[in-house]
Structure formats: C-alpha cells, structure tokens
Symmetry: C2
Subunit: 229 residues, 2 copies
C-alpha cells in the first residue's frame, strides 16, 4: 500500500564537558542530504548485525567516533514527514556521556565539538534533538550520579562538584553536595591517592564503586530546587 517505505535511522548525541561548557560531537556528512554539513553521528540499522537499537547505537558510535561509552541510553524517537527531505522518517535517538579526553579527533575524521548552549542550525531536526538530550541530562543530573560519566576514572570531590555545577548551571552548596554524594553512596576513596601539585591541601581522589560502573545511583530528592524535570 505505501509507495515509499519509512526511513528508519539511529542517531547518537555524544556529550562531553570542555571547560565548564557541555559540548556535542558532530560529524561532517559525506553524502547527501546535507552533504558537507555537520550533523549527529547516525546511520541505518543492520538487522543481521544488531540485536536491537541499543546495539545499533553502540556500533554506530564506535564506528564513527571510536568510542565505547559506558553510558548509552535511549532519549526518544523523532519522526514525521518534515524532518528528512528524502521522505517520512523516524530516528531513534540515544545519548552518551564521556570524559572529553576520550574524544580523539584524529581517531574520527570530520569530528567537531560544539558547545550546546550556542548551537547553530543543524541538518534535519538535529538541533532540536541535541536540545532535548541536554534537557534530559540536566534533569537527570539533579537527582542522580549521571555527571560522573563526564569525569575520568578518578576525580576529586571539588572537581565532581564543578561538573555538576557546569551541567546544572548554578552553584551548589558544598556541604549539601557532599552530603548528597554520601547519600548516593556510589563513590569510594582511592586509598592514599591525593591530587597534589598546587599550593594547598591536596584533595582525596575518588572512583565509582564497582556496582555503579554501568548503573546510575538515584536520589529521592533533587540536588537543587530547579523546576524542570
């Protein structure tokens, strides 16, 4: 009955922190439509290869950026007649968070990091998609351990607090923050490891407890009284 089949793709919003600004990874497109433009890494499902769309997203991310992200979650599906000039399409979108050091531009030709808060227009509805992913990350960060995925293996509490503040966009009370980290019960100190080097008391290094390597730790109460869930 339908003349044209529905175009069915996967896109991945790969986020990292540079300085205190959240950035998204964009790739130069090497075929039409929007050839030469920068867009989200994405592509078609390979039914023979991918068990499901999460699988497909992980494969795509790895193929296009060389990254195997420990955190990769479905955002939602964007769809409709208007979003792709080729026809009626859907895109099942996943998002990933990684430390910026993990993104090696030489490993991925045509890769570019753009700050999400001053994004130019992107091909398809990719700007809208990125903004939806950022909103999700900001919202989840206020009651979960999500931002630790933006840090490396080991990090200090002041560093982690700075990461939370960068995402939430507002300062957090130091005592409350440490109480909350304690309550989330996801961190363990790296015995004897301190971050020295500067002219002050060195900070204790922490790492994620094993059980939270691939799972979020959740808190009943939000970090700050922000109203966007």
């Amino acid at each position: 009955m339908p003349q044209k089949p529905i175009i069915c793709t996967i896109d991945v919003v790969l986020l990292c922190l540079q300085g205190s600004a959240l950035h998204v990874a964009l790739l130069k497109r090497d075929k039409p439509p929007f050839e030469g433009g920068y867009a989200l890494p994405g592509g078609f499902i390979h039914p023979e290869e991918d068990a499901d769309t999460l699988d497909a997203a992980a494969r795509m991310l790895n193929e296009k950026t060389g990254i195997a992200s420990p955190y990769l979650e479905q955002l939602c599906t964007f769809s409709g007649a208007a979003r792709d000039p080729r026809g009626w399409s859907i895109s099942i979108v996943y998002y990933a968070l990684v430390p910026a050091e993990l993104i090696k531009p030489d490993r991925a030709p045509g890769l570019q990091l753009q700050p999400v808060d001053q994004l130019r227009t992107l091909p398809f509805d990719h700007k809208e998609i990125v903004l939806a992913a950022v909103e999700r990350v900001r919202s989840k960060s206020s009651y979960s351990s999500l931002p630790v995925y933006l840090c490396g293996e080991q990090f200090t509490l002041p560093r982690l607090q700075a990461v939370y503040e960068a995402i939430l966009g507002e300062p957090i009370n130091k005592v409350s923050f440490r109480r909350k980290m304690d309550e989330l019960d996801m961190l363990e100190p790296v015995e004897g490891a301190l971050e020295a080097g500067r002219a002050n008391r060195p900070a204790q290094l922490y790492r994620l407890k094993n059980q939270y390597r691939n799972r979020l730790s959740l808190s009943g109460r939000a970090m700050t009284a922000n109203s966007d869930h």
Copy 2:
C-alpha cells in the same frame, strides 16, 4: 542490501484507574501473529495520513478504542530481532491516561481492562512495555500533576489524594498533599460546587486551570521519598 525491511509499528498503553488499581486496556487481536490473544492497541504508521508518530498514536487510539485522550506521550521505542515472530521490528510506544468512565467497552469490540499489577504474559514484549509505562507513570506522578488525567473534569481533593495514593502505592500525609497541590498551582475551585450526599461535611469540587489542560504542572520536590525515578 537488507532482504527484509524493518517492521515499524506504534503501540499505545492506555491506562485508567478502577477502584484503587491501575488498569491497562488490551484488545483482542483479529489477525496473526498471536491471533485471538489480547495485546496493546497498535498498528502501522500511515505516512500519507499521519504527520508524525504522535499523530499516528492518537489516530490509532481513536480508531481502536474511540478515545481522544488529552494526555498522550511517548514512552520509548522497543526494538530487536526477538520481539516479533515476523522479523526485526521496532515499536514506538505511547502512553495515555484517562478516567475509567471514558472507556466504553461497547464502543470498542474486544476491549478488556487488566490490572497492571497482576498481568499475565502478553503477546510480543507487551508485558514489558506495560510495566515500563507503569513505572514511568509512577515516577512522574511523584512530582507532577499527571494523576489528574485519571480523574474526570471535576473532583474533590480527597478523591485526588486517593488517586495519587493508588498510583504511588502508599499513603500520603493530608496536609503535605494539600500544600503540594497548592504549590503546583494547577487547580481552581468550582465556585459553589460541593460534593454532597453523604453524612458529612461536603467536599469542594476542583477542576484543572485552563493552562494545565494539556500540560503537566511540575514540582521541584517529589511527593514522597520514593527512590525510583
């Protein structure tokens, strides 16, 4: 390249409250696979007719159950090689909440309401889908006005509190509940309308403020300290 195209469908989880138990609407399937089994209302996208998948979900819900739900939101997309015997498939799932009175079995042949907390195995991965929808509803209910969609046009505060308690599965402090409703600022009293009839002080009837007819009101803090977001 791909021998078989990906099977691309929409499913809708329609929820309502009967007594104090959340129920899901299931339809008797009139074609294979799983012919004769009870499954979620769903079907194929009509690219000529539907502007996007939300549109398709609304159409499908209306065609199959006769209901035009004011609240219809995307849950997420289920996918993979294993979930449909016909082949590699995706299902973009939406969920809706309506007052039970709105579901008229005579209007929809083969429709059945099942309590979500004692669900038997369903065709495809529909049981998993229902459980995911219920978890989303429970989680969102703890910090939003979502449960009002399970009430009719007008309702009393004790009734609304009972609806919240039915969804969250635990009693709520009356004073806290009323403070929260006040804070959400989504209700207005229906002037002069009281729910009389019983041998006690009659309760004030309320309705949703106009601006929240099709939008949730959100609170920064959760209703109860439940840890599943």
